[in-house]
Symmetry: C2
Subunit: 682 residues, 2 copies
């Protein structure tokens, strides 16, 4: 290997010198083989493995730290575990049974709060209007059938993932894609907030004592989900199947039991607590607007369809066919639960708790099964399912962000996988935004729903319209039928988006109408920034960036102490013409420094700038401007002597000026800043 | 002048090269004289004046800015004005009349709230106990006489400023001095809070509508005082005389008028509003403890003595004699006002407002003169005087801080004069702490007083004890008499400190008992840090800091773009053996980079480090450690390519990694970091 290292590498630029780490390791091996006396030359064996002429860093390079960063690392390891190597990334495929449990949790869990939200709006028109819940639920299920049909097509067309962002970008262009993505991102944040709020509401229904702490509990749940996802929990774990099937089985059982008891005339009608009466009295007339609002609140039930389409690549082959089947099954199960619950509520005459302390579903279960273990089972299953539904956003939001970051629409950090292979930035951003929503809306499902549905239906509409155009352009087999189905889907979702946007405008959908275009503008702005930057940064052969610069070197100094002398020595290695600059408001110290300068055998020129306004940064910058005007093309190197204390908090006693100076110099063109540290206490 | 520049300066280290700025200016002059054609060579004439071989920065160097810093500068100039040159520092001397107005405002203003605070404590023992106010006031005035006598001696002994810090340090050693300083610093903060609160209380007494906003108004007053002091208001302005004399004249007039009416039997007894009755009913027995507490609250009246002693050097010559006379006069005036008010309150039977909406002084004035213009005049004069009293702390705190910073007990920033010659850091620190107190104590004078007196009396005691020791050591003329007076002062102030500390312990003096030693420990710790640093930084001839280092140069890079090539070019100017390091989690990009490297004619060695844990900082640091272990003494220079966007907020999209890297490298020994910027958008 030693032949790889030319004796005078400067003369042979084409043949790079081998890295001394690689090289010395080779030497040691040679020693080991040729010589019985093996000497350990240096301590990097645990840290780098050598592989085909490159070094491969081991886990130690990430873990090894000192001082307070070691403490941080310890806490981090405790919370999210040790780093995982890229090679351990898993690509497990899901069976339909598993996929149904994981991807449809968002959809199926809507049955826990959807009927209640319809009921709450109708209650404004008095108890008599509540009977309209069932017809509205039926209408929503009809919509679901259309959307499901429509998405079955999309899944087949995009077996690598049918996210609205991808479908809309692909067929309608970048702008439509980014619009869909903006709507989805906001939707994912609201999903977390709504699902966690509804999950906590399921618990407060059986534990009324924890009601005052619902916001804190919701936030704690988001934090737990965040830590779990930073750890990189595998969605594919079988444990994630439990809540969905537990919920389905429990609820189907309860609904069936109730239907039977009801048919036998065994179930007494529901009587609400008397203190709700005054609050639940109708205050509005039952008009079209109220009906539309009730429909809008209930339409939240359709928002989970995207999750299965997003997850197509995770299915076992044939992916698209399995995903389609699962989608249909999810819709059917959801339809039975939703209609069953809506029917029972209407029949029994259940009214919503105006204080939001008890969910309508828990009232129903309590009425049917009493205060026993079944109630507890149903509520716990509901809460678990809702947490699982929130967790799907913790997979979807970071993944969509990483797509957007990869395409230059979001900061690059969103595309980096963290130490545990999770998209750290996306997870933390989602959690932060969801916590803001939870606190702002006091974890109220009813308050959050208006923010939810519009964004999701906007994305649906764009995705369906994209499919429509795709059929039209490609004229593939079955394009006429496809266009009819997706056309129906487009119209349906567009109408729902319109209804939701207008009827809930003042309840909160105005926020979405403001936020979605704002976010879209931000994403487009970020890409245009990155593009213009890429253009400027591109290395073009022949351009003069790699011409050796002939820098002007200056060393600002206050005194001629050891750090200053070290900085001066370094400055001389860059240029023999380096200059020291002393800026002072006190002519006496300047004279002292000058004397000292000669005593110490100052081998460099010393310029004294008096600053009667006591400022340091301004005069130095102006001095540099003046130098620059003499040599407009040469870069200026500012060599700064810095004292590094032993403890970070001691920095309060040092380097204040140097920090301000660096901030200003960072913005100055053609200026290189070199920090020469002097470490105290060693 | 051109002879000053040796043709080859490297060979003649003793003769430094003249700065090119100075030199070219010389040339231009030569041109102007010898040649009719004068060419303006460069644009620094407005910025630097040349003086005896040095440059003197003009105001333009401070003001000239670009971008958002220009906006900041504009706001700053609007609020506090343009910079002032050091040469304009004024040293005006004060006449006794002016000095009395300025330095005694703190002392005299105590008469506005001192009697009330005694009254409030006695009220706990019922209305009957209130008559003890007058004897307690008499006792306090007797104490004041002793303290005044004692300080007359101190002023004579320390004509350059008799701050307790100086007197205690000088005679009892550094520790006692720092203890006194800590007590004083806390005292100054409380002075601002108490004076402003009392000033606002004087205003709410005539404008009850603003009572709910008293905290906001107090904070606004502190902000105004801060801006005024940052501007560098001259205490010597005659306008500052007005409040003190207005208050003295108004109050003496009202007291006189009331005494005459009282003597004539013309003044009816006071009747409190019936709604106060229940709240002012005595709840405690009148014991020794309550008396001591009442005395402690009233002892606040003595806290202003330090201000005159601090300001001795500002008097006209003979400074000490004039200061002494002024101190005596201030004590006499204060005594008359304090006793007069206490007498009238007791005689008329005024009781304090349990809601703290009206001051006792305003009740008195209202009772004597009615709701007319006299009342308004008295209250406005009181408020103005109290603001002026707060303002004395804005002179004292920053000055004491600057002494402490000069002696190494506080961070150096406290010793720097800002652009307007004011001690910016000290002023801002004082304002911030006072605002915290005002908010925490809801601008309540009664709540704040217990924090006030103890610290001040602690400082008094140390100062008097210092004088005692000084007499004993020096045996100067009159030392026996001096020892008796200062001994009496020491004992008196020590007893008061003890009484205040114990009787008000649970009311708040425990905070002082905790904070003073904590602050003292902090100040001592700072000095020991600075000392140990000085020791380490000291340049010793012969030590090897200025040996030319032979640095190892590495350039971490992600891609071979223009910024990277610029960084590589700079790295080569430092060392011909510079190495590029590419850390990646993707072997493909590494291969691409390597190809690119040869295409672009990479004249340097490229080391590829694979990082399967996707971390960048850790592996780079470990790589550096490995390099270092091969060459333990050579410094490592890390040359970083940085993209500088046009707008600061665009930094969110860049340099995240580079920032983290720099933070970690800053703590690494023997590591020099050079930032090579690439500016976007030009």
């Amino acid at each position: 290997m030693s032949s790889n290292r030319p004796p005078d590498r400067g003369n042979d630029p084409a043949e790079p010198r081998v890295d001394p780490l690689l090289e010395v390791r080779e030497k040691r091996r040679g020693q080991r083989m040729g010589d019985s006396y093996v000497r350990i030359v240096r301590p990097f064996e645990d840290e780098f493995e050598r592989e085909e002429g490159r070094l491969v860093a081991t886990e130690r390079t990430v873990l090894q730290r000192s001082g307070w960063t070691r403490t941080l690392r310890g806490i981090r390891t405790l919370l999210i575990g040790r780093p995982i190597s890229s090679e351990h990334e898993q690509h497990e495929r899901l069976t339909k049974v598993k996929a149904l449990a994981i991807f449809s949790s968002d959809n199926i869990s809507s049955s826990a709060y959807g009927p209640e939200e319809i009921l709450r709006v109708l209650a404004f028109a008095g108890a008599g209007a509540l009977s309209l819940t069932l017809p509205l639920a039926g209408l929503i299920i009809a919509m679901l059938a259309i959307v499901t049909m429509s998405y079955r097509q999309t899944i087949k067309a995009y077996p690598l993932g049918a996210s609205s962002y991808i479908v809309a970008s692909d067929n309608l262009g970048d702008r439509a894609g980014v619009l869909a993505a903006s709507a989805l991102l906001i939707g994912y944040v609201v999903t977390v907030a709504v699902s966690v709020s509804a999950g906590v509401a399921a618990l407060t229904s059986i534990l009324p004592d924890i009601y005052p702490y619902r916001v804190e509990i919701s936030v704690a749940m988001v934090v737990l989900l965040t830590l779990g996802n930073l750890r990189g929990i595998r969605e594919s774990g079988s444990i994630f199947m439990a809540p969905t099937y537990l919920y389905i089985v429990t609820m189907l059982g309860i609904i069936g039991y109730a239907l039977v008891r009801n048919a036998l005339g065994d179930l007494p009608p529901y009587t609400a607590p008397p203190e709700w009466a005054a609050l639940n009295e109708g205050t509005q007339a039952l008009g079209l607007f109220l009906l539309l609002r009730a429909f809008s609140q209930g339409a939240v039930a359709l928002t989970g369809v995207e999750a299965i389409s997003d997850g197509v690549p995770a299915f076992k082959a044939p992916e698209w066919r399995n995903a389609r089947t699962t989608l249909t099954w999810a819709a059917v199960i959801f339809g039975i639960l939703f209609l069953g619950i809506a029917y029972l509520i209407t029949t029994l005459g259940i009214v919503p708790d105006p204080f939001e302390k008890q969910t309508v579903l828990s009232q129903l279960v309590r009425h049917v099964t009493g205060n026993g273990p079944i109630l507890i089972l149903a509520q716990v299953a509901t809460a678990l399912l809702l947490v699982l539904a929130a967790n799907t956003s913790f997979a979807d939001f970071p993944r969509l962000s990483s797509f957007l970051a990869r395409d230059g629409f979001m900061p690059r950090q969103f595309a980096f996988r963290g130490e545990r292979l999770a998209f750290t930035t996306g997870i933390v951003a989602l959690a932060g935004l969801a916590i803001v929503l939870l606190v702002a809306f006091k974890a109220s499902v009813t308050g959050l729903i208006p923010l939810y549905t519009l964004g999701v239906f906007l994305a649906f509409t764009l995705s369906q319209a994209g499919m429509l155009l795709r059929w039209w352009r490609r004229h593939e087999k079955g394009w006429r039928q496809g266009m009819i189905i997706n056309g129906l889907g487009t119209v349906t979702t567009a109408v729902v988006a319109l209804v939701v946007g207008t009827s809930n405008f003042f309840q909160g959908s105005w926020m979405v109408i403001v936020l979605v275009p704002a976010l879209m503008a931000l994403l487009m702005g970020i890409r245009s920034h990155y593009r213009s930057m890429e253009h400027q940064l591109e290395a073009v052969p022949g351009i003069d960036d790699d011409v050796e610069p002939d820098p002007i070197v200056i060393v600002p100094l206050a005194r001629l102490d050891r750090p200053a002398r070290r900085a001066l020595a370094f400055a001389r290695t860059i240029s023999p013409h380096a200059t020291a600059v002393h800026i002072t408001n006190d002519p006496h110290t300047a004279d002292q420094l000058r004397e000292h300068w000669h005593e110490m055998g100052g081998r460099m020129e010393l310029v004294v700038v008096e600053s009667p306004y006591r400022a340091l940064v301004g005069p130095l910058l102006r001095y540099m401007d003046a130098l620059q005007s003499l040599h407009p093309t040469r870069p200026i190197v500012v060599v700064l002597a810095e004292v590094v204390p032993r403890h970070w908090w001691e920095n309060l006693l040092h380097n204040q000026t140097s920090l301000r100076l660096k901030l200003r110099l960072f913005g100055r063109k053609n200026t290189i800043v070199a920090d020469v540290p002097f470490h105290l206490g060693d």
